[in-house]
């Protein structure tokens, strides 16, 4: 309970300064808050959209950028066709638009922690976003903490941040990338082509020099439940597993 967060996070406007398509379904939006704030890797912001009649919709989005990044913060938003907010970003939002947001929020799904040793990251789809912030944070600090990322997506073209992740993997500085494709054959020798399971988590542990000190699992509710259980069945202590569930 060391991370008491005395947050001051009122609503503010943030301008969209850049938009970058990441995959067919995921696009990154870079926001310049009118009042910039410091944040920790893994935290999120809430965004709020207001219709002319006052109706508001609000959703949470994890921050993808590293805390070291000055200026705009990156949110990577997956389009859900029948959703209310994510299609707005994909179909309507443009550079120059002002959006209301507040943050940083969340004081549990954050890295580093005082006692953290080697790190296990498990992401499903857009659940990789806060994990990306942690990896970027690690790279920015030239940290040598051993990390393995198990990243599950349906197909190769949906691997968000693919070039960056593979480049980080190739540095061989203690970061190991394990991709698993659930609807396509594996592309790289180190990768898998099935849903996350116990055997895969056991394999992931062998990529670390010693047992993990902390594990972060993020994605849809069903993914997080399955992945967290697979970690436990692979011998990871439940107490060190932190989860972030994106909902349905």
């Amino acid at each position: 309970m060391s991370d008491a967060a005395a947050v001051q996070s009122p609503w503010q406007t943030a301008g969209i300064v850049r938009i970058e398509k990441r995959t067919p379904r995921v696009t990154s939006f870079f926001f310049q808050p009118s009042r910039p704030f410091a944040y920790r890797a893994g935290q999120h912001v809430d965004v709020r959209l207001t219709a002319p009649d006052g109706y508001q919709a609000r959703r949470s989005y994890s921050i993808a950028s590293a805390p070291e990044t000055s200026g705009a913060i990156e949110l990577a938003i997956e389009k859900l066709d029948d959703g209310e907010v994510s299609p707005f970003f994909h179909e309507v939002a443009a550079v120059g638009d002002e959006i209301e947001l507040r943050g940083p929020l969340g004081g549990h799904f954050v890295w580093p922690e005082d006692e953290s040793g080697p790190l296990v990251l498990v992401g499903g789809g857009s659940g990789v976003v806060p994990l990306m912030s942690m990896l970027r944070h690690r790279a920015a600090r030239n940290s040598a903490v051993p990390v393995v990322l198990v990243f599950s997506v349906r197909v190769w073209d949906e691997v968000i941040f693919r070039h960056e992740l593979i480049a980080l993997d190739e540095r061989q500085d203690g970061f190991d990338l394990m991709l698993t494709l659930t609807r396509e054959a594996a592309r790289r020798p180190a990768d898998y082509a099935r849903r996350v399971d116990v055997a895969m988590m056991v394999q992931a542990m062998t990529r670390l020099p010693e047992p993990p000190g902390i594990a972060f699992v993020c994605g849809s509710n069903a993914f997080v439940s399955a992945a967290a259980q697979a970690l436990i069945d692979a011998g990871v202590a439940a107490e060190i597993i932190r989860t972030e569930r994106y909902g349905v």
Binding site: Q8, T13, T50, E98, L105
Partner: protein, 203 residues
């Protein structure tokens, strides 16, 4: 501030309006929110302890707890992640009946609810008594699933749902209003959905 190009939002049905707190939307499913993996607590291993500070007042095992008076409660619930669900049917033991069985009056004005996974959340006594809250054992007439906090969870339906601690194993009277798990991590100390008390600095 009106957002350019946002007009087609999914408005709540007119008849449900007054039941949906500000910033919430109506959800038909029952999403899950928790900070870690789902603990599997067997009823053989289950117990519930009432404490005053560090001192235990009374402890019940599963059989003893199930022998306490059962009450049904159907309520709207409001999760801080913005969904509201109408008419969720629970059954369990009112906090009033737990106190009566222990033969105590609340010795302080505040409590911390404790869970098997180490989770805690603070709730004032006034929000637990007078029929306002229960330790729920059944949802829709069936044992609560582990995902939703079974075997037993706290139910404080008039506050944001993180106050309704899952996998409950105790209730502790505290002298001060001590922040629990999420309250230490940026969430509001009280959590009234009608006043939109989501985060620490909300009024």
């Amino acid at each position: 501030m009106v957002t350019r190009g946002f007009s087609s939002g999914r408005r709540p049905p007119a008849d449900g309006d007054a039941r949906i707190p500000p910033g919430q939307y109506l959800e038909q499913g029952f999403p899950v929110l928790s900070a870690g993996p789902t603990p599997r607590v067997r009823t053989e291993d289950w117990s519930f302890t009432l404490k005053h500070g560090p001192r235990p007042i009374k402890k019940w095992n599963w059989t003893e707890f199930n022998a306490l008076p059962m009450t049904k409660m159907t309520r709207d619930i409001h999760c801080v992640t913005a969904w509201t669900k109408f008419d969720t049917p629970w059954q369990g033991v009112l906090v009033d009946d737990i106190l009566a069985d222990a033969g105590v009056e609340p010795p302080t004005g505040f409590t911390l609810a404790h869970a098997f996974d180490g989770y805690t959340t603070n709730v004032p006594v006034a929000d637990l008594t007078a029929g306002k809250a229960m330790v729920a054992l059944l949802y829709e007439g069936k044992p609560i699933t582990p995902d939703h906090g079974g075997p037993a969870r706290l139910l404080v339906p008039h506050l944001y749902f993180w106050k309704s601690a899952k996998w409950l194993n105790g209730l502790q009277f505290t002298t001060r209003d001590e922040p629990g798990f999420w309250e230490l991590r940026g969430y509001h100390i009280y959590g009234d959905p009608w006043r939109e008390q989501r985060y620490t600095d909300d009024p």
